[in-house]
C-alpha cells in the first residue's frame, strides 16, 4: 500500500519534488530516492537557508504523510522528545485505587504505568502506525542539542525502536521516513552519520536558483528575477562572513516586488541589503561603490548572455 505512493526512480523523485515547487538537483534526488527505497534516515547538512527543512515538509505533503517535527535545542531530554507519564492522572488513579481498598501494590503499579497514562512525544509518535502510511519524522537542527541526545537517537535511527522501561520496547511496524538536518555548528558524531545517507546541500547554481525563484515568487518580472539571481550569485563569490542563502534570495525578491521595483539600481540595493546580509561587518563591507561595481558586472553579464 505504501509502496504505491513512493517514487519508483530517481527521475520520478525529481518530478515529485517539483510538483511541490521544490526544484532539487539530481544528486539530492538520488539520495532521497535511496533513503526512501532503503528505508534509511537521510542526514542533510548545509548552510542556513538552503532548504534543508523544506525537504521534509515537501515529502510530507507530496506523499500525503503526517509530518512530525522534533526541533532540537540544548537541554532536550527524553521527557520532551520521547514520552512522559501523565503524573496528575497517575496520582489520581493511585488515590482512587486506595479508596476502593485495592491493596495489591504490583497491580496498582501495573495499572498506573500503562498506555493510558503515557503522553507520546514526537519520536514515539513517529513509530506508531498511521493510516496514511509511515509519517515523515523531521529531526531539525540536531547540532543544537548535545552529544548525549545523539547517543539516544542511535537506537531510534538504527532499529526504529524505543525502549520505555516501564512498558517495554516499542517497535515501528513500518519505519518512518526520517530526515535529520544540521547547520554544522558542531560536528555530529560519526556513529550517527554512519546510520544515515549523507547529503550536503550547497547553494544552487544560477539556472536552478532562477527556477526556484520563479516557482516561489510567481509574480516577479522576468528581468528583475534574472538580475536578482545574478546579483546574489555574484555576492556569494565575495568574501563574506555569511553568504546569503536561497531563503534570503526569495525574501529579497518578494521585498523588491512589494516595493514595485522593476530593475535593480544601486540605491535600492543598498537600502534593502539588510534582507540579504545579516552581519553588520558584511553590510559595511558592501558600501555604495562596491554595490555599484557588482551591479555593473551583473548587468554586463546579463547583456552578454542575451
Amino acid at each position: 500500500m505504501t509502496d504505491k505512493t513512493l517514487p519508483s526512480s530517481i527521475d520520478s523523485t525529481l518530478d515529485l519534488l517539483a510538483k511541490a515547487d521544490y526544484i532539487a538537483d539530481r544528486s539530492l534526488a538520488t539520495v532521497l530516492y535511496l533513503a526512501l527505497r532503503m528505508g534509511r534516515p537521510m542526514f542533510v547538512e548545509g548552510e542556513a537557508g538552503v532548504g534543508k527543512t523544506e525537504i521534509a515538509k515537501v515529502l510530507a505533503t507530496t506523499l500525503g504523510r503526517r509530518l512530525i517535527r522534533l526541533q532540537c535545542y540544548e537541554g532536550l531530554d527524553v521527557s520532551a522528545a520521547v514520552y512522559e507519564w501523565n503524573y496528575g492522572a497517575q496520582m489520581i488513579a493511585i488515590r482512587l485505587a486506595e479508596a476502593e481498598g485495592e491493596g495489591d501494590r504490583a497491580r496498582i503499579e501495573h495499572d498506573v504505568f500503562s498506555d493510558r497514562f503515557l503522553i507520546k512525544r514526537p519520536l514515539l509518535q513517529a513509530l506508531e502506525p498511521d493510516p496514511a502510511g509511515p509519517p515523515v519524522l523531521l529531526i531539525d537542527e540536531i547540532d543544537r542539542t548535545d552529544e548525549a541526545f545523539e547517543a539516544f537517537l542511535l537506537e531510534v535511527l538504527a532499529d526504529f525502536q524505543i525502549t520505555v522501561p516501564e512498558l517495554g520496547t516499542v517497535k515501528a511496524a513500518h519505519p518512518p521516513i526520517v530526515v535529520v538536518t544540521s547547520n554544522r555548528t558542531r560536528e555530529v558524531h560519526d556513529a550517527l552519520k554512519r546510520r544515515c545517507l549523507y547529503h550536503w546541500v550547497g547553494y544552487p547554481n544560477a539556472e536552478r536558483e532562477l527556477k526556484i525563484l520563479r516557482a516561489k515568487v510567481p509574480g516577479i518580472a522576468k528581468k528583475l528575477s534574472e538580475q536578482v539571481v545574478a546579483f546574489v550569485q555574484a555576492l556569494r563569490k565575495e568574501d563574506l562572513f555569511k553568504s546569503p542563502g536561497v531563503a534570503e534570495t526569495l525574501d529579497w525578491a518578494s521585498a523588491l516586488t512589494e516595493l514595485d521595483v522593476v530593475a535593480l539600481d544601486p540605491a535600492t540595493v543598498s537600502d534593502t541589503l539588510g534582507v540579504l546580509l545579516k552581519y553588520q561587518d558584511d553590510i559595511t563591507r558592501l558600501d555604495g561603490t562596491k554595490v555599484k561595481a557588482l551591479l555593473d558586472e551583473v548587468r554586463s553579464e546579463l547583456r552578454a548572455a542575451e
Partner: protein, 400 residues
Amino acid sequence: MAASEGRLAENILYFARALRAAGIPVGPGAVLDALEALSVAHVGTRDDFYWTLHAVFVKRHEHTGLFDQAFRIFFRKRGYIEKMIASMLPETMPGEHKAPPPGAQRIQEALFSGLNEREQAKSDVEIDARLTVSDQELLRKKDFAQMTAAEIAAAKDAIARLALPLDEVRTRRLAPSRHGHLIDIRRTLRASMKAGGAVIDLKYLGPRVKEPPIVALLDISGSMSEYTRLFLHFLHAVTDARKRVTTFLFGTRLTNVTRAIRQRDPDEALAACSANVADWSGGTRIASSLHVFNKQWARRVLGQGAVVLLITDGLERDADDTLAFEIDRLHRSCKRLIWLNPLLRFQAFEARAKGVQTILPHVDELRPIHNLESMKELVRALSGAPAKGYNPKDLLRQVA
C-alpha cells in the same frame, strides 16, 4: 548473473579500499550499503552511479573533494562505468565477461603506495631519565628553550602527569540532584510507588554541569619552534583527558590536527600532526590564519561556551587593521580568550611590538607559558575564574 554481481561487488570493495587509503573512513558496512543502494537505484547514467556511491560513502562535507578525486581515478577508464551499469541489469548475457579490468589493480596499488611513505616518519628515540628531587625542582623552572634532550623527555613525562582541570559550565540539561530546586516528578512517583503511594517523598532536579570545549590555536612559526613540540605534548595531554578539545596549528596556513592528536601515543600523535602540516617552522600570518578560522571553523567549534587558547608570540610582521578585526571577532565569538605567550618569561617584556599591541586589547587573559611551572598554573587557571595579575590591560597601561 551471479558472476557479474560478484565482479561488481569486488570492484566496489576495491573502490572502498581506495577511499580508505585516501583518508575517508569507510567501514565494511558501507560496502554492503553501497551494493544495496546500487541494486535499488536502477542506476542509468554515470552521474547517478556517482551520487549513489556518494550518498553511501561520504559522511562529511570535507570528504566530497577526496571522493571526487578517488572516483575519477578509479573509474577513469572510458566505458568502464557503463559496463558496470550494464552488469547490474538483469538482461545482461552471461559469457560476455572479460578479464578483470586492468585499471582496478593498478590504481589500487597507486593509491596504496603513498601510504607506506607516510608511515616511515617515525618518532625520535625516547630517553629514560630518572631525576632527583632537586633536579625536578630545577626542571620546573627551566625554560623549555634551554632544555637538553633528556630534560625535554622528563618534561614530557611531567606534562603527561599534569592533573587536568575540572572546569565546568552549567548546561540547560537537568540531572537528579539532592540540592536541586525543581521537582523530579518522574522519580518522585516511582519512589512513592514503593510505599504503595502513601508517602510522597519529593526528589529534585538541578542543572547538569559539563566541561566547556577548549579550542587551541598553536603558532608553529620559526620564532616559536623551541616551544611547539612541548605545547603539542601539553595539548595531547589535555585532549586525552577531556572530550571536547579542538587543536589547530597555524604558520602561514591553518591546519586542523584534532584527529591526529587524538591518537593514544603522544609521539605517534605528533608524527601524524607533522605529516598533516606543510608550513612547519615557516613564517607567521596571524591575521590570515585567524580569518580562515573565523570564517570556516568558529561557528562549528566555538559553541557551548568554548575557551580559546591562543598560543603565539604575537610577532606578526604586517600587523594592521585586519589583525585587530579578526582577533576582535574571535574574542566576541568565544566565552574566554586566553593568550599564552612564551615571550612573557622575560621580566622586562613590554607590549612594544605592533602585533602584540594589536592583540592585547582583545584578549581576556595573557599568560606566560615557557616552563612547567607556568603550564601548571595555566591548568589551574582553566579550572577557575580569571586570575588576577594576568590582565592584559596592565601591560598596555605600562606602555602608555
